[in-house]
């Protein structure tokens, strides 16, 4: 993972999050519901904090450790990150 943020679209941010969650849960990307709560998908509170760290590494952003608590689905989180990155 390394600062791939340049020129990313909101759809790409969302696709990255789906891939990341699928990878962690050892599921196929098409089996991940982007509108389900991360907690329902099987990512507990501690892991959601770690996802914040991975987001920082991937997008070169500084985010609150609780970013994935406050934006609890992939769709909502992607929207939040896209706004932070200034992409659409």
């Amino acid at each position: 993972m390394s600062g791939t943020q340049a020129g990313m679209t909101a759809a790409q941010v969302r696709a990255w999050l789906i891939d990341r969650v699928a990878f962690l849960l050892e599921l196929r990307a098409q089996d991940i519901d982007p509108d389900a709560e991360l907690a329902e998908l099987g990512l507990d509170s501690v892991y959601a904090v770690m996802l914040g760290g991975e987001i920082e590494e991937e997008f070169g952003l500084v985010v609150e450790p609780t970013v994935a608590w406050d934006n609890p689905t992939i769709t909502v989180l992607a929207g939040h990150l896209a706004a932070e990155l200034g992409v659409r």
């Binding site: 849960l25 991360l38 907690a39 507990d44 509170s45 501690v46 904090v49 760290g53 609890p72």
Partner: protein
């Protein structure tokens, strides 16, 4: 402040109202020793849990652990039931409470009040995000409904901190803390559940609450709505870092009893202490106690010195220390034989401590839960390098910056500054190259952990890697404490204990080596000298309580 040990007096004096005989009699009755509670109330133990800026004596986490360790040396039940429970409940208030709540809890604890920490529900264990007790918003405030179980002092506390659901949706923003003044809510809106009978700490009142439409004023909410999990993950870094250090007092007493037993008991024509296996058992338990103290010292001081790393140290300490203490207690129970199983006679305290110790492995975060909070962070730690921790982290009497709850973080950015001590160990500690190799091997495993092994569903690989991480942290902490405190006593300076510590930790990592006989002999000499002098068996070697008029022997400065 008077010294608690001096107030407690000689534990072995039959007539001492807070001696072991009285502690055992209270345990048989299944109650907390009333004279012990009175003594601690007179001492103002509650002030130990209240920050100095609010009028208490809590300014250093390591000092708090040392004070409470004296209580645990006397009686685990008193330490939990009269002590640490109130601190566990207060920590969320110090973390997220407003000025009025902080002042209220400070005054309550300074006045000798007991605060219950109402988290647990039997159906959900440590899985706090599934807690079902619910606080529903009303025009006047909230209404609380649900049951809390296995709550210390529920039968008699006048106030409680209650963790309750405030949102319907799942996730980590669904719960909040409430500070409940039980004297102020309407009678009949809650009841106190009967106490659960237990194997150990039988004097503790482990009960519960059932809330039924219990109205709470709006100002009882602690922090912002939904901030409960965040508060827990900060506040419990402090409690989980200090609790294991307090409980080492129990192992201290068990080991002293074992040394006394081994010196008195004659078998096969010699004292038990003269049997090589028994001597090795005593030296091993003594070494394990020192290892535990090193890890606890570093975990407590880290809250002040490297707060951004404190969470990992706290989790590793709460995981490993009860386990090492439990293993040491088992080894000592073999030495005691039947004498460690009898509920009467001069060594009856041994069976009590052996029954009491297991509560520490699951009480206030079960071992597996602590490991689960470590596991997701391991790959990131393993692939980042940086500066080693400063010496002040390890020096027991060194000055500390204030503890700022606001600096405790949920995430864990970057490297581990304690582990780095294992790179380039001085030759004096023995086992050349072993810990450097084990650290490299651990890093290699941790960065390659399968993704699934880094989440709550982690399998053996994740847990094994976190176990090895905790052992490496214990080794690094021991080396750090040794290097930073060599001038404090000839024993701490001499290399025997650190060589023995690394040998034992190396063996737990699967690296057996060398002949421990020489170190065991020196540790045995130190152990029996400390028992004869009446000083504690931890790093501090403090004077123990004595009968009035008894001279003080060599005391500290060993």
């Amino acid at each position: 402040m008077p010294d608690l040990e001096a107030l407690f007096g000689d534990p072995f004096a039959e007539a001492n109202p807070v001696g072991f005989a009285a502690v055992l009699a209270a345990d048989e009755r299944g109650e907390l020793l009333p004279e012990g509670e009175a003594l601690l109330t007179g001492y103002g133990l509650g002030a130990e849990f209240v920050p100095t800026e609010l009028g208490g004596r809590f300014d250093r986490a390591d000092r708090m652990a040392a004070v409470l360790r004296a209580v645990f040396r006397r009686d685990c039940a008193l330490g939990l039931g009269h002590g640490v429970t109130s601190f566990i409940a207060a920590a969320p208030i110090w973390t997220s409470g407003n000025a009025a709540q902080r002042n209220w809890v400070a005054e309550y604890l300074l006045g000798g009040g007991r605060l219950s920490a109402a988290y647990t529900e039997l159906a959900h264990g440590n899985d706090f995000t599934r807690v079902e007790t619910r606080a529903t918003r009303t025009a006047e405030g909230f209404v609380l409904d649900g049951r809390k179980e296995l709550v210390n002092n529920a039968a008699r506390a006048d106030a409680a901190v209650v963790f309750a659901k405030t949102e319907d949706r799942p996730g980590s923003r669904g719960h909040s803390h409430f500070l409940v003044d039980l004297a102020a809510v309407p009678a009949g809106s809650y009841r106190r559940l009967p106490d659960f009978p237990t194997v150990g700490v039988r004097g503790c009142l482990l009960g519960g609450f059932e809330f039924t439409g219990c109205p709470l004023p709006g100002e009882s909410l602690v922090g912002a709505p939904g901030e409960g999990m965040e508060t827990v993950l900060r506040a419990f870094q402090v409690t989980r870092a200090v609790l294991p250090g307090m409980t080492l007092g129990a192992l201290d007493t068990l080991l002293r009893l074992a040394a006394r037993f081994a010196a008195e008991r004659r078998l096969y024509g010699r004292t038990v202490a003269g049997l090589p296996h028994a001597g090795a058992t005593l030296a091993g338990a003594f070494t394990d106690l020192l290892i535990c103290d090193c890890l606890c010292t570093v975990a407590a001081r880290a809250l002040h010195v490297v707060p951004e790393q404190a969470g990992m140290l706290a989790a590793a300490t709460k995981y490993l220390v009860p386990r090492l203490a439990q293993d040491a207690a088992y080894a000592l129970s073999v030495l005691f034989g039947a004498r460690g199983y009898l509920r009467e006679g001069p060594f009856a305290m041994a069976q009590k401590i052996i029954r009491d110790l297991p509560v520490l492995t699951f009480g206030h975060a079960n071992a597996a839960v602590c490991q689960s909070s470590i596991i997701p962070r391991l790959p990131r730690i393993a692939r980042t390098v940086g500066e080693p921790a400063p010496e002040v982290l390890f020096r027991s009497d060194g000055e500390l910056p204030p503890l700022d709850f606001g600096l405790l973080t949920l995430d864990y950015r970057g490297h581990d500054r304690v582990l780095l001590l294992l790179e380039g160990l001085p030759g004096e500690v023995g086992l050349p190259g072993v810990f450097e190799a084990e650290l490299a091997r651990w890093r290699d495993t941790a960065v390659k952990l399968a993704p699934r092994d880094t989440i709550i569903l982690a399998g053996r690989a994740g847990f094994e890697t976190s176990h090895r991480y905790a052992l490496l942290l214990a080794a690094a902490s021991s080396v750090g404490v040794w290097l930073a405190n060599r001038d404090r006593s000839p024993f701490l300076d001499g290399g025997a204990w650190i060589r023995a510590a690394l040998r034992r930790l190396g063996a737990r990592l699967g690296r057996h080596g060398g002949d421990p006989a020489e170190e065991d002999e020196e540790l045995g000499r130190e152990l029996f000298a400390r028992c004869a002098d009446g000083v504690t068996l931890d790093l501090a070697a403090r004077p123990l309580g004595r009968s009035a008029g008894t001279s003080r022997g060599r005391g500290t400065g060993r």
